[in-house]
């Protein structure tokens, strides 16, 4: 009777033997991790101190370092798996292993365990060490751990997948090629498919077709992308949880596949083709389609006309696919003697893509017309030029669906659709000669004037947990003509002034127990006329100048919350600070000043404050525009003297522009003598910005006795000091002196001290 039971006796000797074969790689990998850890740590700290990174940027740096580790792990996985199982690809070593008194499953299990230990254990130790050294707080550690989890899943999945390919291929080179190809084909086809679909179907968003989880579903080397996404989204979402479940399921499936392949692989396939005959057919078909799509896509992008793009894409898709197939087929068949009869797979794939394209152009998938029913939606989000608001209230959901319907009605009349290259960068290349002047002007309203938002995204979460996304860009003159923008903006204004948005924007910030610091800033609205392609444009400038931060105790926070809540709830025309098309923008006059209140989270690590020269770090900050009718909030700020406005930095160059000067002049008029500190700042800035005369006159008009003369002398001293010790330069023709923020700040601090002493002197 044939014994096929698992043999422990053979497992451990072979496991130790395989581990021994991987010893060199283990040492190299450990050294890489050992060296890269401190380098990454040093790099992160260097960037923090050199560039005054805040917390959000810190996450980027941590993400990059985690991705570098994950990428290194992916390379090591590929090397280790191919190396450990290279005995499958040599007839002589197949003889040796095949004759060992063990079953094939034991050879597989012993080697896979040795290989995984070689790759996973150094990664875990290295990553844990780096996290211990470079990640500073609980949140970072949690995100790092999530990243580590996905990278480990990537390591195990990729290792098993590469081994499966090793069992299916006859040579190590084929194993590497097919492993990379299958990973790349899946990601590439999905990326291009999504991009091309979004070019064809109105409303079809890259996000709407499949999530990033599906992008890498059969590309285990890409599982780390899921980790990166969890990093960026700040934790687990249902999609990421599904990603983990899928990863585990994928690992189980590939493991079973490996066991099957280990038991059934014909030993004589070593150094000779593929043990699975359909693998090269699928691979060459996949590569042909992806290369064809890429070439078609590139040539289509080069076209101006939409219809030409579609024809060009189709032509070059077929040419590219055929050429790629020929090259890969010749490689797999080890020579120019091609078996064209085996091209059925690639013909089927190319045909499938063509059929899918035709269905897409005719709107056959229903993506362009589908609007979920209000009853089936648990939340609806509308993002306007990237600024999104989420709604759970039934009435608001209906409003969002109504806006969505305006777009659907405005686009579905164009069937069959064409391949529109404009959706790639959201810019419509209009054929000016063939369109009316009205059309052009309308599009310009969106494109250049910024009168209306350009991009609109609808995101629905259904009660069944699915996510539906649609995206439209108003850069198309067709849309401009078919969608009633005024009606749409009216509904959007209703939405953003709803109680839900009020709660989301400002008041939600108080839910954070760690939020204990505020900053105030001023927002200046400046408008001036400008020529742009013979179209009169009006641009809006925003200048936000910061003041020093103020720490609040619990009582003060509650007081501010109560004041802000009353004001916001009473504000019928409330708009969030990040909404650019609000009535306050339209109504604001040249040089109007609003106060922006920024609420910051507490820095629990204490490290950033030190590294950022006293600047405060936060994962989230929330801004509230404090209007003139926010009496309670203004009273709070007055009570705690949180209203000083200091001009520095931007104002030095800003003062030199026509609009900027006018704004500042108007601002000076609005200041009282009590705002002397602000006046001093302006005066000094103007002096340094070579606009001294203008501001000097203004200041002299305020009649400060001999103070201005003394101040002028003091500034002169400071300027000499600046010219000597800093990299300031004077440009010709009265252009402003360019001085960096911190230098100017130190000058202004010095002047403020002088002013304080002057007042003490006056009081005496």
């Amino acid at each position: 009777m044939t014994s096929t039971t698992f043999s422990n006796k053979g497992f451990f000797p072979l496991f130790k033997w395989a581990l021994r074969q991987n010893r060199g790689l283990l040492i190299v990998y450990s050294i890489i991790l050992l060296i890269s850890g401190p380098i990454l740590d040093g790099f992160i700290k260097l960037r923090i101190s050199a560039e005054n990174l805040d917390y959000v940027n810190m996450i980027d740096v941590e993400l990059v370092s985690s991705l570098i580790y994950a990428f290194t792990a992916a390379i090591i996985v590929l090397i280790s798996a191919v190396r450990t199982f290279s005995f499958l690809h040599n007839k002589r070593s197949v003889d040796m292993y095949g004759a060992f008194p063990v079953i094939r499953r034991t050879v597989f299990l012993s080697h896979i365990l040795a290989g995984l230990l070689t790759t996973a254990v150094p990664y875990i130790i290295g990553m844990a060490a780096v996290m211990g050294i470079t990640y500073y707080d609980g949140e970072s550690l949690r995100l790092g751990a999530v990243m580590m989890l996905f990278t480990l899943l990537m390591i195990v999945a990729s290792y098993l997948f590469t081994v499966l390919m090793a069992y299916c291929c006859g040579t190590s080179l084929d194993t590497v090629c097919v492993t990379i190809a299958v990973n790349g084909i899946w990601v590439g086809i999905f990326s291009l498919f999504k991009m091309i679909m979004s070019m064809m179907i109105p409303g079809c968003s890259v996000e709407s077709i499949l999530s990033s989880f599906a992008d890498v579903a059969f590309a285990p080397l890409g599982f780390m992308v899921l980790g990166a996404k969890s990093y960026l989204t700040g934790g687990f979402t249902p999609v990421l949880t599904a990603g983990i479940v899928w990863s585990v399921l994928y690992i189980a499936l590939v493991f079973v596949g490996c066991l099957f392949a280990a038991n059934n692989r014909k030993a004589h396939t070593a150094q000779d083709g593929f043990s699975v005959k359909w693998l090269p057919r699928v691979t060459e078909s996949g590569i042909a389609v992806i290369i064809g799509m890429a070439i078609g896509f590139v040539f289509a992008l080069a076209q101006d006309s939409d219809k030409a793009s579609m024809f060009t894409f189709s032509f070059w898709f077929i040419i590219g696919a055929a050429a790629a197939f020929a090259v890969v087929h010749i490689y797999f068949n080890k020579g120019v003697k091609c078996h064209w009869g085996k091209s059925i797979a690639v013909c089927s794939s190319v045909s499938a893509v063509c059929i899918a394209a035709v269905i897409s152009l005719c709107g056959g998938w229903g993506i362009d017309t589908y609007i979920p029913s209000a009853g089936g939606v648990s939340s609806a989000e509308i993002s306007v030029n990237g600024v999104g608001y989420s709604f759970g209230d039934a009435e608001n959901i209906e409003r969002v669906l109504g806006i969505h319907k305006l777009f659907v009605d405005g686009t579905t009349t164009d069937r069959p659709y064409s391949l529109s290259t404009s959706s790639i960068d959201n810019v419509e290349y209009l054929d000016v000669a063939s369109e009316s002047a009205d059309d052009l002007e309308k599009v310009n309203d969106y494109d250049y004037d910024n009168t209306y938002p350009v991009s609109y995204k609808f995101k629905y979460k259904t009660k069944l947990g699915a996510e539906i996304v649609r995206e439209y860009h108003m850069t198309s003159y067709k849309l401009v003509n078919t969608v009633d923008t005024d009606e749409m903006m009216g509904v959007i204004e209703e939405l953003i002034s709803s109680a839900e948005v009020k709660k989301q924007s400002a008041l939600a910030a108080f839910d954070d127990e760690q939020r204990n610091r505020i900053q105030t800033a001023s927002l200046n609205m400046v408008k001036f006329e400008k020529q742009y392609d013979k179209v009169q444009q009006t641009e809006t400038y925003q200048c936000i100048s910061h003041v020093d931060s103020v720490d609040l105790d619990k009582e003060q926070i509650n007081e501010l919350y109560a004041a802000l809540k009353m004001d916001i709830e009473a504000d019928d025309s409330f708009v969030p600070a990040d909404w650019q098309w609000s009535s306050y923008t339209d109504e604001s006059q040249l040089g109007d000043v609003y106060t922006i209140l920024t609420l910051w989270s507490k820095d629990i690590s204490g490290l950033y404050a030190e590294l950022n020269n006293g600047q405060y770090a936060s994962s989230v900050n929330t801004q509230v525009i404090v209007k003139e009718n926010y009496k309670n909030t203004l009273a709070f700020l007055e009570k705690y003297n949180i209203k000083a406005i200091r001009y520095y930095s931007h104002s030095s160059t800003y003062a030199d522009t026509e609009g900027g000067y006018e704004a500042m002049e108007k601002y000076i008029d609005s200041l009282s003598v009590n705002d002397l500190k602000a006046l001093v700042d302006l005066y000094a800035t103007g002096w340094l910005a070579d606009c001294y005369d203008d501001f000097g006159i203004k200041l002299n008009d305020k009649q400060f006795d001999d103070y201005t003369a003394q101040l002028e002398q003091k500034i002169q001293e400071q300027q000499e000091w600046l010219l000597e010790d800093y990299t300031a330069y004077l440009a010709d023709g009265g252009t402003a002196i360019q001085i960096d923020d911190w230098t100017l700040c130190s000058v202004l601090d010095s002047l403020a001290e002088f002013t304080q002493q002057y007042f003490i002197h006056l009081e005496k």
Partner: protein, 299 residues
């Protein structure tokens, strides 16, 4: 007993072994001979469990050898090009084999280490072809196999080492009742050491019997007959090959030696001599019968 039962092995469209059947008695030294590409190495790989046959089976005492841990633990296969990793030494391979093979003998290993001129700590990959074979054989013999499968084992070995190996093999057969199967084209060496022989051609067995029987079943005869003898005088004999130079006939005849002698004497030959064939001559004769001779190749 090792039984080859209806073994068929295909490599794509090519049939390497076609319904092959024969037995190899326990404790014998079996010489597997055959033309190039006849399937000798394939058969050894099937017996050792490297290849799974497409049909039939190689069985030892009724059990298939494929994926059979116990039987493979009692067997050792040295392929025509033994494989060694770059960092393999006799010493570290011994560590592996010691744990894998249940009959590993440390005493035997030490004896062999002192017998063969090989540094156990030296990298095998850097050794000559002959030295690599010696290293493989040292390890194989140390596992005290009941079935030792050797493919072209004499290649690259100097005459002294060949003698040593033949001596060791015979000792092992005597001491352990080891069954040794040697596939080789070096028929001279096989003749020295084998007691059974199997001749394979085009995936089928042509001949399988004891070496002596194989050699005694075919004879070379030199005979001079009188002028009155006609052309058809040898038509009743099982002649494999015949050549004539004047009155001298040189014949290769299959059959019993005594019977052939008696019948040839009845022809009143002026001179007759019956000579034994070497294994190589037997091989060539049998292959000629199978249509594999130089004349056919040159055609």
């Amino acid at each position: 007993m090792l039984a080859i039962k209806n073994v068929t092995k295909k490599f794509g469209a090519k049939i390497a072994l076609n319904n092959l059947s024969f037995n190899i008695p326990t404790g014998s030294v079996f010489g597997l001979i055959g033309s190039n590409g006849s399937g000798k190495s394939t058969l050894l790989r099937i017996i050792s469990g490297v290849y799974e046959p497409d049909g039939g089976s190689a069985e030892i005492d009724g059990e298939s050898t494929y994926e059979n841990v116990r039987l493979k633990g009692e067997s050792f296969f040295i392929s025509d090009f033994p494989y060694f990793y770059n960092n393999s030494t006799v010493e570290n391979l011994a560590v592996l084999y010691r744990q894998l093979y249940p009959n590993w003998s440390e005493i035997k290993f030490q004896q062999l280490c002192s017998m063969f001129p090989i540094g156990v700590k030296d990298r095998i990959i850097n050794m000559s072809k002959g030295m690599q074979r010696q290293a493989a054989l040292m390890l194989a013999l140390s596992t005290c196999p009941k079935y030792l499968l050797l493919d072209e084992i004499f290649d690259g070995l100097d005459p002294v080492v060949r003698q040593l190996i033949k001596k060791l093999l015979i000792e092992m057969v005597v001491e352990n009742q080891t069954t040794v199967i040697i596939a080789s084209h070096n028929l001279r060496e096989l003749e020295d050491v084998c007691d059974h022989v199997g001749l394979i051609h085009c995936g089928g067995i042509i001949l399988e019997k004891e070496l002596d029987a194989a050699k005694l079943g075919i004879h070379r005869v030199q005979i001079v007959l009188g002028d009155e003898v006609g052309e058809g005088v040898f038509s009743d004999f099982n002649i494999v090959k015949s050549q004539r130079q004047g009155k001298l006939y040189e014949l290769t005849i299959k059959g019993d030696a005594d019977e052939i002698t008696e019948r040839l004497n009845a022809l009143n030959p002026q001179f007759m001599e019956l000579l034994p064939l070497t294994l190589e001559e037997v091989f060539i004769s049998e292959m000629e019968v199978a249509g594999y001779d130089i004349n056919n190749i040159l055609k």
